[in-house]
Subunit: 226 residues, 2 copies
DNA sequence: ATTAAAACATGACATTTATCATATTAAAGA
DNA sequence: TCTTTAATATGATAAATGTCATGTTTTAAT
């Protein structure tokens, strides 16, 4: 089993506040998992009883709505933790996590993490700040959904994917989402999303090659997104 | 100056975890404020440097969107705290708070609260749980905005106001919002909101008398809201 | 390699929602 | 009290978005 103290990923998460001794202990309780593209890490309503630390890969956090469609609430990637809110609230998770590409994650049981919560103030502060950041993001997202048009939201989402997850050597967005998934981030029908992507392509804002999307005119997209 | 330890309100907030001694100290640093309907408690971008404890009244937390309209992100009332996220993140507030009715609030400087954060684990845990609750709510709200129709959202919002803030002796909703404010909760144009209220009235779901709204058929509203 | 299934794309159309115009009513200030 | 302004209401219309149908392309499975 790999050692947490040698794991580069932890440097990016709240876990960076843990001491060498704490990390050593952590190595003993964690379990390592390989998750294939499309597989579910946990499901809405489940009792996860711990947190996942993402060592590699990206996943989507989705929530099923009353009408049966699901909405992508957030994308989470390497270096971030999953299930923190649920652990602190002591409630089942309110979102499902599904891998968008092959992932490597480590699971740390609740009992083991919670100990550090009381002992290590910097650690609990880090977790709290992350959750506060999520809340702020959620507020922003909410206002966008309420007040922006689908076109504006699409432009904004493309820029977000670009800025947050970067691009491949061929300039295409690193996160590859299906049209359906993209639609479920911006909150629209799949067909509307496809149609607008075509429009963007015709206007020279983006380039489409299969699932690959290349942002050609970032400034114009920024103007569109407001 | 009134004493925090005698304040009934604190029983409902995260502050309930504080000891008698801590509350006594708190009484000395807090400042008490009367805020009139329509007045601003703090504004988006401001450095608040502390938290507000709401002793009486209701306020709206709003966020200005790019198009100039503002969106009501949350209603906060008696017994709840304001500015927790900002304090923990050590950032300016991301929302403005405006009184919906005359309010009585107490301001506690950051320096004084943060001390209890380290000392009193139960207190920091309470604050964290509140923020986690807000995040969960925000996720739900997001999905609703993304996937429900305006009609469904209006029905849901009316039920929310009813269940959360209760009603007056004449059965009307206790929180009195303008059509404009209601529209800015559900994320629609004021006219659309007014029109749908009229429809609801015609269908016998609600009763309208000026600003007063009485829910006549809660079950039907629930069906509408999904 | 072949076939079946899923994802993508686009047209036609229906529905929802926003916008503009214009009354009417209620509230607030002089 | 009067007058001015803001809030509410409703119609007419435009614009945005969703839905259904259908064809094409891509992907996955046999």
């Amino acid at each position: 089993m790999s050692k947490c103290e040698q794991c580069i990923v932890r440097e990016f998460s709240s876990l960076k506040a843990l001491t060498k001794e704490e990390l050593l202990k952590l190595s003993d309780c964690k379990t390592s998992h390989i998750i294939k593209r499309g597989e579910v890490i946990f499901e809405e309503g489940e009792n996860v009883n711990g947190i996942y630390c993402i060592k590699d890969g990206i996943c989507k956090l989705i929530k099923l709505s009353a009408n049966g469609k699901d909405h992508i609430v957030k994308l989470v990637t390497k270096g971030e933790l999953l299930g923190q809110r649920s652990m602190i609230s002591d409630e089942p998770v309110n979102l499902s996590a599904v891998a968008l590409e092959d992932m490597h994650v480590c699971f740390i049981p609740k009992a083991d993490v919670m100990g550090y919560f009381d002992q290590n103030n910097q650690f609990s502060m880090n977790v709290m700040k992350t959750i506060c950041g999520d809340l702020k993001e959620a507020d922003d997202h909410m206002v966008n959904l309420a007040q922006k048009t689908v076109k504006e939201r699409l432009a904004e989402t493309l820029l977000y994917l670009h800025d947050t997850f970067g691009k491949n050597e061929d300039e295409s967005l690193k996160v590859q989402l299906s049209r359906d998934e993209l639609a479920s981030i911006i909150g629209t029908a799949t067909e509307s999303c496809i149609r607008l992507l075509s429009d963007f392509k015709k206007s020279g804002l983006i380039e489409l090659t299969g699932k690959k999307i290349v942002l050609k005119d970032i400034n114009a997209l920024k103007k569109l997104a407001d």
